[in-house]
């Protein structure tokens, strides 16, 4: 029995020494940078690859607005620095799309007017990266793609491989929202055309994009009734005032109508 006692004792000691408090991992690597989602969802693991692509359309803006700036979120890894740290962006060509042209569709990323803003301020670990888009006339007919990536430099090395790039697809065209379909289409909106979409925006001041249509698709039926009442009434007013100049559906070449 004495031997049995020793066996249990040895087992107990082994188990005891095997326990150890879990210590947090400390970042000991060099300073790095990578893109990420909006700071409000930064610590949500499901959102880490969010915001990779932005769709932007000048069509929602007034016709005299020729420049628009969009922002992406950049984060540093490692301790904050006591000095400003610059970072470098470079366009990457995307096969099979119309790539945006620097100076035509967007302000070149190495243009000092914009690159001077590509700086992580001292003490900061996050920066809103501005990308300046131009409303070139070609955007009326074509959507262009601007994909850009981080380039390592003396201040910041590259972070996680999948988070080193961002992409923006932009145009001056309206894009049919996914919610413009099914019963919504048959009951309220009718067949899609950009002319109709543009009229709905001008008549209501609403974007009629996916987000707005999701709101109209909510639990209550009255909001969509209200907004479509405004749209239809506005179209009737327009048609009465412009009997020989109706708004033409670019697909059917006929005056736009709603169900």
């Amino acid at each position: 029995m004495k031997r049995l006692y020793y066996i249990f004792l040895a087992l107990g000691c082994t188990i005891a020494v095997a326990c150890k408090q879990n210590e947090p991992l400390l970042y000991t690597d060099i300073a790095r940078a990578q893109f990420g989602p909006d700071p409000t969802v930064y610590y949500s693991s499901s959102q880490i690859y969010g915001d990779t692509l932005k769709n932007q359309s000048f069509a929602y803006l007034a016709t005299d607005i020729l420049v628009d700036t969009i922002y992406f979120d950049l984060y540093t890894m490692g301790a904050p620095s006591k000095v400003n740290r610059s970072f470098v962006l470079k366009q990457e060509q995307v096969y099979g799309t119309t790539n945006a042209l620097p100076g035509v569709h967007y302000k070149a990323l190495d243009n000092p007017e914009i690159s001077k803003h590509y700086v992580i301020k001292a003490g900061a670990t996050h920066h809103k990266v501005p990308i300046v888009l131009f409303r070139d006339v070609s955007l009326k007919t074509t959507a262009v793609t601007l994909k850009f990536k981080l380039i390592d430099n003396k201040d910041l090395a590259l972070g996680q491989p999948g988070l080193l790039w961002r992409k923006v697809v932009f145009s001056d065209k309206l894009i049919k929202p996914a919610a413009w379909s099914g019963s919504n289409q048959s009951q309220f909106y009718g067949a899609y055309s950009e002319a109709k979409h543009r009229f709905m925006i001008s008549a209501t001041g609403q974007k009629w994009d996916q987000e707005f249509m999701n709101y109209l698709n909510g639990a209550f039926t009255e909001p969509v009734q209200y907004w479509m009442s405004v749209v239809k009434s506005s179209l009737a007013t327009y048609n009465a005032a412009n009997p020989t100049n109706p708004i033409i559906d670019e697909v059917t070449n006929k005056a736009i109508v709603f169900p």
Partner: protein, 527 residues
């Protein structure tokens, strides 16, 4: 005899293993039990309790027992009925067998739950009762009125045992008393809704509500406390202009609102936030229209409206953005067919239209009556019985040309008997007449004193615990009003009113509410 030659160390290992295996064994517990199931009973619980919030103490001391031995523990809770989008949360009221609860809930139906648990067996049984909560405002008569420019209402509380009002229980100007101000504009109407949605604790719930409508505003009030939760500024998706309220009405499945002759609708049974949708259009060209304040609203059927501009009927729903054209399928006037039938309404001004009964389809009783006046020749007035003929059609039958010599020709106020005798009450000067819709004869019923002006005629009735059946006549004399509530015998008014309510202002209606009114379908929502 030694069968296996193993050393002592190996034997010890086997011994340890055996200990592990032994400790892993568990005593078998049979799955099946053949003993009698436990049954807990509680007696002394009523199916329904009617209480007044802020006043009554709900005292219940049930007798509880179980067919198994053990100590029985009680928990009382209360939770809301009819919530939308959220599960109701139960509030614990007591953990004693005897419940003594000072009721402080809003006026509506609640579920009272008693859970009895046998602490020895762990078995619990639940018992549920309905608690119908009222407040001092949930039982009595309301009289909407105005002073010529602003609207208010008086309240005449009634006891739990009777719907008979008394001037001794009057709370004058109860609307402005609770809100601190009156509604702008003259009084139009007052309605009671059971299911209008209001936000309570973050979710929309069916709320027993009063709807007070003036020329320039509307107030949706929680009947519990008369607090306003919607008004003209937030009862629309965007408040329209001008502010010119006509009516708020319902057919149970949907609500309708007419402002400046324009129709708005809202879901009545289903998800709603208590906000009306967009203005309905007549056509895709948005042709102008102006609906009469009079409609025929069958229960959950086609609601008929009348466009005063085109002299045509239209149907309204809560789903379509458009008013639906309604065809007059047949029309008969003075025993002759009107050809085409649509001519019965062509170039006509609608003088009066109201519900006779709710149900009208399937060849049943007529839905209502309409009185027209010719726009070109005002001496021509006609009256028809309105019947439903499918979702997009109606009939105008039993039409009569109203003689210029008749009292009905010069009538100023109308009141159809809702569901009772086939009579139309109306006023002519100081006199109240009944018009027999079967024999087309008139009969003087009552004459108001010379110094009084008749302001409304209304028939309302209720069956059940708070039963009443009154033809009500409102009058104004100077700054004061009288509302006479007449019982009737075979359609004729009794010689004297059962009670006369008095107050200040110009009354436009009298409406009784009580916890026993649990559906919108007891009253007509037309004038």
């Amino acid at each position: 005899m030694k069968i296996f030659n193993i050393n002592r160390q190996v034997a010890n290992i086997f011994f340890v293993l055996f200990l592990f295996i032994f400790s892993a064994c568990e005593k078998y517990k049979p799955v099946y039990q053949y003993s009698e199931n436990e049954k807990i009973t509680a007696t002394g619980l009523e199916a329904l309790y009617q209480v007044t919030s802020g006043n009554d103490v709900l005292t219940i001391d049930p007798t509880i027992s179980s067919n198994k031995t053990g100590d029985l523990k009680c928990v009382w809770g209360i939770y809301e009925t009819n919530t939308q989008g959220t599960n109701p949360v139960m509030d614990t009221l007591a953990r004693t067998k005897k419940l003594e609860y000072k009721v402080n809930r809003s006026a509506k139906d609640w579920y009272l739950m008693l859970r009895v648990t046998n602490s020895r067996t762990g078995y619990s049984q639940y018992f549920k009762s309905t608690v119908r909560v009222g407040t001092i405002y949930t039982r009595g008569w309301y009289i909407p009125k105005d002073d010529g420019s602003q609207t208010d209402m008086d309240f005449f509380a009634t006891p739990a045992t009777s719907s008979m009002p008394s001037n001794n229980t009057k709370i004058e100007n109860v609307y402005s008393l609770m809100q601190g101000k009156k509604l702008e504009g003259k009084a139009i109407m007052l309605s009671f809704f059971v299911n209008f949605k209001s936000m309570v604790n973050g979710s929309y719930v069916s709320t027993r509500s009063l709807s007070l409508v003036s020329e320039k505003d509307v107030s949706m009030m929680d009947l519990s406390n008369l607090q306003v939760y919607r008004n003209f500024d937030n009862i629309f998706q965007a408040a329209p202009t001008p502010r010119k309220m006509d009516v708020v009405t319902t057919d149970f499945l949907k609500y309708f609102l007419i402002n400046n002759g324009q129709l708005y609708s809202m879901v009545g049974q289903g998800y709603s936030e208590g906000i009306f949708g967009g203005r309905k259009l007549l056509t895709s060209n948005d042709n102008p229209y102006h609906l009469s304040k009079h409609q025929i609203i069958p229960s959950a059927g086609t609601a008929y409206f009348f466009d005063e501009m085109s002299s045509a009927f239209y149907a309204g729903t809560d789903r379509s953005l458009y008013l639906g054209a309604v065809t007059i399928n047949t029309a008969r006037l003075d025993n002759n067919p009107v050809t085409p039938a649509s001519a019965a309404a062509t170039n006509k001004k609608l003088i009066y239209m109201g519900n006779k009964v709710y149900g009208s389809s399937g060849g049943g009783a007529p839905g209502g009556y309409v009185i027209f006046q010719d726009k070109t020749n005002p001496t021509i007035k006609t009256m028809y019985q309105v019947g439903s003929a499918g979702p997009n059609g109606l009939t105008l039958n039993a039409g009569v040309t109203i003689s210029t010599a008749s009292k009905l020709f010069n009538a100023t106020h109308y009141g159809l008997l809702f569901g009772d005798e086939n009579l139309l009450y109306f006023s002519s000067g100081k006199e109240i007449y009944s018009y027999n819709l079967n024999s087309n004869t008139e009969q003087l019923q009552y004459t108001v004193p010379n110094d009084e002006e008749i302001t409304f005629i209304r028939h309302r009735k209720l069956t059940g615990a708070d039963a009443y059946n009154y033809v009500m006549i409102g009058t104004q004399s100077g700054q004061n009003y009288k509302v006479r509530l007449f019982n009737k015998t075979t359609g004729n008014l009794n010689t004297e009113p059962s009670v006369t309510l008095t107050g200040k202002g110009r009354p436009v209606d009298a409406l009784y509410v009580s916890p026993t009114v649990t559906t919108e379908l007891v009253y007509s929502y037309t004038f």
